[in-house]
């Protein structure tokens, strides 16, 4: 009897790759899947389950299914990719400076003057004093890592 291609293994590994590769371009765009990558973790779970099913098939039913080598190799790779993902999102992403000297609630925001995107200087104190018209009620400063 001709042995069948063990689709489960490859579908599982493909799902794991998708789980890994979609976080930054797709799911980190939305706050609900950015702050905790639950969609990606679900995809990892589905991929590993498919791989495990393929592995069981390859060993229980070797007359019908291929993959006795591919299944364990891809399963190990899949677990490695999951580990790398978890390290990146749950550990490396937390390697931030303590910023214990950052201004606190109730303190004065250090004034600054910085050029905007057109090179025009923008000063916090001038912006808060007046805007040419009605002075604003306040300002929200968003420090971000940059565009890359």
């Amino acid at each position: 009897m001709k042995r069948r291609w063990n689709v489960s293994i490859w579908a599982g590994f493909g799902t794991i790759l998708a789980a890994f590769l979609t976080y930054i371009p797709v799911f980190s765009r939305f706050p609900i899947t950015r702050d905790f990558p639950w969609v990606n973790l679900l995809l990892f779970g589905a991929g590993l389950a498919l791989l495990a099913r393929g592995l069981v098939r390859a060993y229980r039913d070797p007359q019908r299914y291929r993959g006795k080598v591919a299944a364990p190799v891809l399963l190990a790779l899949g677990v490695l990719v999951l580990g790398f993902f978890c390290y990146g999102v749950l550990i490396a992403a937390r390697q931030l400076p303590a910023s214990s000297g950052a201004p606190r609630v109730g303190g004065q925001a250090p004034d600054f003057t910085l050029p905007d995107q057109d090179g025009r200087p923008v000063s916090l104190s001038a912006l808060l004093r007046s805007d040419g018209g009605e002075p604003p009620r306040g300002a929200l400063l968003i420090f971000y890592r940059g565009y890359w």
Binding site: S28, R29, F30, P31, R34, D35, F36, P37, V89, A93, R94, L96, P97, S99, S100, G101, A102, P103, R104, V105, G106, G107, Q108, A109, P110, D111, F112, L114, P115, D116, Q117, D118, G119, V122, L124, S125, L127, L128, D131, E134, P135, P136, R137, G138, A139, L140, L141, I142, F143, Y144, R145, G146, Y147, W148
Partner: protein, 120 residues
């Protein structure tokens, strides 16, 4: 991640405008990058440029070596400042994937007294 955060604030810009809160986004990117970035993302608030991270350092937000090729960049952080320059709300995230959401800042704004002089 940064784009996701800035985009979410851009989407609620009208709510900040109505409350009289101006948005300023600050990074170490040069103005040319900010111009391109702002145009591409259609942001209406200014992107300020602090290439030597002087202001970033003054706010103790320097993430040394945190950028591409080990560049010094700002860690993500948000400060709500009232019209007297007093800080009323701060968010220093513990993870670069977790950012302030516009809704939490808006509710902090709504909790401010309308006249800062009336503050104790």
């Amino acid at each position: 991640m940064c784009n996701s955060e800035l985009r979410s604030f851009e989407e609620r810009l009208g709510d900040f405008d109505r409350r009289g809160i101006r948005l300023l986004a600050i990074s170490v990117d040069p103005p040319e990058t900010n111009r391109r970035h702002r145009h591409e993302m259609q942001f209406r608030f200014p992107l300020l440029s602090d290439p030597k991270a002087e202001v970033v350092r003054r706010y103790d937000l320097l993430h040394a070596g945190g950028g591409p090729d080990g560049a010094d960049i700002a860690r993500p952080a948000e400060f709500l400042v009232d019209s007297t320059g007093t800080i009323r709300w701060v968010n220093l995230t513990e993870s670069i994937t977790v950012r302030a959401r516009p809704e939490e800042v808006l509710s902090a704004v709504d909790g401010l007294p309308s006249r800062p002089e009336a503050m104790p």
